[in-house]
Symmetry: C2
Subunit: 159 residues, 2 copies
């Protein structure tokens, strides 16, 4: 019953708390809170990554890892799969969720668009942390063109 | 798979974050962080309470409500039931969890006992918030005699 929404409630509270007590509500302060949220997401993603079934650690192809995140990780956290995954086959992946659960409480459309980044930072960290545990360093950003559609861009630098 | 531990990971990060950035690490600062955590728990408890099946809102006896928290709410949040519930039949209830999940990561015994309060504040708030949604004002405190056993005391003032 309620357990499926527990994470979403807790996430909402974390965001509210960080913004309420932010010592500097200006652009710099917001940047700090976003970074704190991203860091929390990263460590939770790492911890979740360590809990993954052993066989997933044998992934050899980057694309397999990304597919795994879109399916299994997303279901574990959000009870749904990512809606699409695209790649340029050069280390850049775009993961699209057409109704991202953490954005759903906001009205659809454009009017709350500027509020969106604080509801995405934790999840960017979550993806980066899970990838890190699976042995892949990455840069993860998110963008929203119209609520509640969300695109996560994962860039994996070639070593 | 990983979804059952998501709440615990997130809770750990919240506690760590609040203590890391606490402007005053002394007794006063700790008190503020505890109060922040309790408040977050309260609002999550309220929100969970609103999600409860309609029939539970028809509870008439206080004891029924407390039993509901020990069983359904605890399973929803911690995937286990509370181990015992006692009452003096005068508005005081003691809910005991013999292996409270948020204390399990700490070693058993006495050595980390002073760290325990920060892992209990959120859950005290959670109980208070769920009770509030069910129409019962209460004061909830927690105590630990030996990890990971935890007692939550719910006092319901007679109006």
């Amino acid at each position: 019953m309620a357990d499926t929404v527990l994470f979403e409630f807790l996430h909402t509270e974390m965001v509210a708390e960080l913004w309420a007590h932010d010592p500097d509500p200006g652009p710099g302060g917001q940047k700090m809170s976003l970074s704190v949220l991203e860091g929390m997401g990263f460590r939770v993603g790492q911890a979740l990554g360590e809990r993954l079934p052993r066989e997933t650690l044998a992934f050899r192809e980057e694309l397999d890892v990304l597919k795994f995140l879109c399916k299994d990780l997303w279901v574990a956290v959000f009870q749904k799969q990512m809606d699409s995954l695209r790649t340029n086959h050069q280390g850049t992946y775009v993961l699209q969720d057409n109704s991202f659960p953490l954005l759903l409480p906001m009205a659809s459309g454009l009017q709350y668009l500027e509020e969106a980044p604080k509801f995405l930072a934790f999840t960017c960290g979550l993806l980066r942390g899970a990838l890190c545990t699976l042995g892949i360093e990455s840069v993860v950003t998110a963008s929203v063109a119209a609520l509640p559609v969300c695109k996560f861009q994962v860039v994996i630098p070639k070593s």
